[in-house]
Amino acid sequence: MNFSFTSPWYLLGLIGLALPILIHLLTRRQQTRLKFSAVYLLQQAQKRSVRKSRPNKLLLLLLRCLAIGFLCLALANPLLSSGGLENVLTSRPSAHVFILDDSYSMSAASDPGTLFDRATETLAELIEKLPGNHSFSILLASDPARMIQDWTDDPGKALKWLKAAQPSHRTTSIGKAVTGAVELLNAAPQENKRMFILTDRDQNGWDRDEFPTAFVKDARTQIKIIDFSGYQKGLNRALVQRVKLKQEFLTNRRIIRVQATIANLLPDRAIMQLPVTLFVNGKRQSESTIDLPARGESTHEFAFPLLNNDPVSGHVEIQEDALMADNRRLFVYQPDRKIKVLVVDGDPRGVAHQHDSFYVEKALNPFSSPMADIEPSVSTLSEFSQRDLKQYSVIILCNVRDLAIGLEQELEKFVLRGGALFIGLGDQVDPKYYNEKLGMLLPVTLKSINQVRTEDKPFHLLTQPSEHPVLKVFTGNMLKEMARIPFRTLYTIESRRGRPFEQPMRFTNRFPALIESKFGEGKVILFVSSLDRDWNNFPIHPTFLPWIQRWVKYSAQSLENISRHDVTVGAPLVLEEMEQPPLVRSPGGKISVARKNPQSPPVFEDTHRPGVYELYQWTGTPAAGAAADSPSPEPKQLPADARRMGSFTVNFDPAESVPGKVPVKELSPYFPGAQVDYSPADQALNAASVGAGVPLTTLLFLMLAVMIFWEGWIVRKE
């Protein structure tokens, strides 16, 4: 808080303060003295009397002095500014560290430009005003905090950088930047040290654990926080929280469904009819509106047909608000040509048709055609542990007794990520194992085997028209035929407490025939009888083929959905183990190689820009022109042998969008022991320019009028 005067010569008028003092002294001498007899009675009367018409000389003196003081100050036209830069401009050598918040929340709209533009302008102004014997350094506060300007007293380079600077796409980490700044200041030889933090106070960036506990060696270090949040134009109303894609195989036309979750950031106001647009491959695909409750979120599902198997990339966008960055979320999707199904045979026999998996495999791909939609592959129990489950969309366990140790966790991960698990039972099944080890996946326990004798009437499916996506095609004669299928053996099941599941199919005695439940992103389906002819005749029935195929298509999601990656800006992408780390083409066209680690999978870390990143397999031979002697050559363009192996998206971290700000009064505790000064950016800017600030002239004239009125009232009373 400091004063500056436009017309300081008027301050000479303060000499006039001598006038009321003189009057006071003169009037004191004119006091009459009178010899009187009953002074003690006067004393008693004075104690009882509340009237004080005798002018309070000292009060009058004070009022008159104040009146003259206010008059002189008002004429001098004072300007009040807080958080000014007067300390910066001292002649003593000083060290300054400027922390510039360049997180993407700083890209919020201002008038004109963005908050970041205002911050860089302010910082440039600060640096320009630094006297020659002051040195400074600049740190960026987006995560990870980094220094862009080491100690220097030459503003030229920094000003050039600031002129071209753009906000990053990262989140804030003021704490890490402050830690870096403290280290810099502790190493600085100057006596006067100051730290400037130019920020929008976004709550996401102020993690108390990241701030240094032992703060600064020198308690004289001053910390000035310049807040730019006041410049924000409008509110950041909403953001696209996440986008999910899935491929639908069940319908005749293959459909991609895009689920966009939109969050309302306004704490007290619902948003109605917010336009949401889906862009696919650069074209506007679909548009809709969505209603969002206050501080809540809603999901809207877009669907569009898949015309070919080319990769799909696009984004979901909502109507613009103050912060554009979070209004768009990218996605990329690789549709599958085929559904890869792994059929695990728990009871392989010498004769093929006696295998438990025989009927399932035949039903899924009756002609063993490579052009078929479903590509089943059969595995024995011993081979199962060798398989890479990520390669499959659906895993069918046929009469599997139990699984090798650890495989149940792999299965859980598989289903959690979106895989489908179809379990057919049989005589080999160990119910104890299923009940104990697969408890996470199965919402029911296997109770007992229910078998009917040969002479008794077998179980039959309860057939009735169903709205279930799988079963709705079974109508009329097909239902009648299904109703005739005899089931001689089946498991009775018992539900686990608190685990929901559906029963799309039942037997006539109301026993569940098939249950379906969700687990994570995927599905688990349990058929209580066998998938071969051991316990029923269903596999040789004509309806078995469409029945099993539809269940597989219904439960399957594309491989891309399981294996696709979406990372937030700055987060490393851990790739699968491979001999040669893949090439990555960034959105800007830059080619880089994922970093190979000796004992862990390769990692790609340069994800600082949101967009779609392409992954390419290559042999490690750089294109022509690359440095041949480099042990890990970084090709400037894609090599000829590069083969596209997938893609991933890098999106903004929604945490930075949360509009909460760190309360001003809670700023000081982040800097224990330091002198913290907070000022809104407009005041900091005004203080930096001469003649700017809050004018106090009117206030002072008002005060002068009050003083004159008060003084007159007292004198009149006298």
């Binding site: 004119q30 006091q31 009459t32 003295r33 009178l34 010899k35 009187f36 007899s37 009953a38 002074v39 003690y40 009675l41 006067l42 004393q43 008693q44 009367a45 004075q46 009882r48 009397s49 009237r51 004080k52 018409s53 005798r54 002018p55 006298e718």
Partner: protein, 305 residues
């Protein structure tokens, strides 16, 4: 000093004494000549009542005429009337020296008023062949003239009044305590004072005097300034006694001050008659004749003089 009849004063003092004397004498003579002739010419025996004779009674006092008419022996009884011994007790404290700052203030100065009153009372009493003494006091007895009935004693009183200085603090209670043994029993005490003292128990002292058989007359003398506090402006009041200076605007305290003074006057006016004390409040603008007239009427009504 009390017995000194030889005067050794300068012409100014003598002139002042003379003027005081003239004022007092004129005052008393004028008053008496205008109203009645004094019946008290030294008669010492006065018929009081008859009583039946009883053995032992002086047969000289038997009224033989009555015996002749009624054949009953009645004895004349006479009231023994001795010369009245009166002590004039004058407050000589600093507060009695109050002079109005306004030179055009009507009436006499407070001290002149009090002294003239005392001198007039002395003259009046001496003229009635009563013995008159004068005691001046502030916080102690300053001077004491024992009662004498000789007419020349008036000169002693005048000189005692003329020589006095008004200073010190009023301490009626202490002074009376010291004086009470020296006062004649069953005499008269005339107290002239402004009663401006912090003492609370003046009335108790008066009660004590009364209990000693003294006839007490209290002249409460105040200057109108002391009653009305007519001053204006920013003033510092310096006490004529021992109070510290006090700066104030009289306007602020006037109401309370006047109330306090009036309460004091009302207190004495109300309570003195209950003790048989004659109380008269006198402002210095009140003609002294009025005070003396009051005294004479009062005595007359009580048939004491």
């Amino acid at each position: 000093m009390a017995e000194n009849t030889q005067f050794s004063y300068g012409p100014e003092t003598l002139a002042e004494v003379s003027s005081l004397s003239i004022r007092a004498i004129q005052l008393v003579e004028g008053l008496l000549s205008g109203h009645h002739r004094s019946p008290h010419k030294g008669s010492s025996v006065e018929f009081a009542e008859y009583k039946d004779y009883s053995p032992g009674d002086d047969i000289r006092h038997i009224d033989w005429k009555v015996v002749g008419k009624t054949d009953k022996y009645h004895v004349k009884q006479f009231e023994q009337s001795t010369n009245l011994k009166c002590t004039l007790l004058l407050d000589a404290s600093g507060s009695m020296a109050y002079r109005s700052p306004d030179s055009k203030s009507p009436g006499m100065d407070k001290r002149d008023y009090a002294r003239t009153l005392v001198a007039a009372m002395g003259y009046l009493l001496l003229k009635q062949f009563d013995a008159v003494g004068l005691t001046l006091f502030n916080d102690e007895v300053v001077s004491h003239l024992p009662p004498r009935s000789k007419p020349s004693h008036f000169q002693n009183i005048l000189h005692g009044l003329q020589d006095m200085e008004f200073k010190g603090v009023t301490r009626v209670e202490e002074v009376v305590g010291d004086l009470i043994e020296r006062l004649p029993g069953r005499g008269m005490l005339i107290l002239v004072s402004d009663l401006l003292t912090r003492e609370d128990d003046i009335f108790k002292t008066l009660k004590m005097l009364k209990s000693r058989g003294l006839e007490v007359i209290l002249f409460h003398v105040l200057h109108p300034d002391e009653v009305n506090l007519p001053f204006e402006g920013d003033l510092v009041f310096e006490s004529l006694e021992d109070d510290p200076p006090l700066g104030l605007d009289p306007f602020d305290v006037r109401q309370h001050y006047q109330k306090a003074i009036q309460e004091q006057i009302e207190f004495y006016t109300k309570n003195c008659p209950t003790l048989g004390i004659d109380y008269l409040f006198l402002e210095t603008t009140t003609p002294l004749e009025q005070a003396l007239r009051y005294y004479l009427l009062r005595r007359k009504s009580l048939r004491k003089i």
